[in-house]
Symmetry: C3
């Protein structure tokens, strides 16, 4: 099977697309299971997360401590992260570095089955390949805000 | 185009990833159209579904009868099943058997356009290839529940 | 890596699947950013959109005028379009023409972070390749409605 392709400057292959989607599927299963150490393991040692409010967590230890502190919030809800519209751009100079952007929607289902939603986010990741395995080196989370100025 | 890949033990190719996504896209169009027979046809003859409550339906006939019985529930709503975070693992011993896990979110839109949500689910499927075509052999539906014990 | 595939009459490759998903990821980033001209640029000159109510917009100019007129609606909300269950069918006679069908869910997040939902839609697109790049030639948007007649 061969079909012409050509939308990105550096076109992503189907194999890599499937791999990145699978990477996130596994990473999100861990965070949604509140498997804090397992989640941290999907980041490089020097991995960084910049949260929507601007707070920066550097390195796995800080990440783990931050997640531990927020655990009580998830005591009575099942959290699920949903992704959409991934754009995957392999670095032109280094094929083991990928820039990935995606939409994120977070559902919180309580024990009665009622679903609540966090505001939507857009996320910019840098993934790197270490010993053949993808890991997140940096993540910047942007809360989606209106484009136009408020009505006056 | 060639790019290094290596996240799963048994890595899924882009072609297979696209095929499995397409299989579900077609299966969900049938269930969302309340095309009960068409939906049942996407299962093997001995296909099984274990619902979140534990109820098990074995074989197409039982599946069809069960869906017929629940039709009145959908009289005034448009149902749509949304999937996320597929993990596709080809069986190491039999390449015609796939284990697939995914998140599922179900929307119900009424005639006025108001959208309601069922609780979120995580689903474990076994797909098999018969005469070149994918079919579901088994499906186990898990309702997502909080990880931690209730606040006391 | 080689794995058997065979679900569609005209099977979509992983490379094309990734390309079409990437095309929509870029197109939706533009519409969600209210980048009207950038969005119109993802359509052919003679591109057409038939909205759920039946209103037809023909050509980029009409599309741009229509979107400009609806801008005030988005003044205080962040819109995000989520897609699901793509079915991509390359035209048997012309490999540069694709029929694509997908589910669409639209979230609207206000400044306080509250998320509202538009009714769900199913969309039928015709994509064409021009100078190697995918563009939308036609889009027909269907509002999802209940299958069965209203209860009497």
């Amino acid at each position: 099977m061969s079909q012409p392709v050509g939308t990105l400057r550096q076109q992503v292959t189907g194999d890599l697309y499937a791999e990145v989607q699978t990477f996130y599927a596994q990473q999100m299963r861990r965070v949604d299971a509140l498997d804090i150490e397992g989640f941290a393991d999907t980041f490089t040692d020097d991995g960084e997360v910049v949260h929507a409010g601007g707070h920066r967590q550097s390195g796995r230890e800080e990440m783990i401590a931050g997640m531990r502190a927020s655990l009580p919030r998830y005591r009575d809800i099942a959290v699920r992260h949903w992704f959409g519209h991934l754009i995957i751009e392999p670095d032109a100079a280094d094929e083991d570095t990928l820039r990935v952007s995606y939409y994120s929607l977070v559902t919180q289902t309580d024990r009665e089955g009622k679903v609540a939603f966090q505001p939507t986010f857009t996320v910019d990741d840098v993934l790197v390949r270490r010993d053949g395995r993808l890991m997140t080196r940096s993540r910047v989370i942007h809360r989606d805000t209106p484009v136009a100025p408020p009505a006056s």
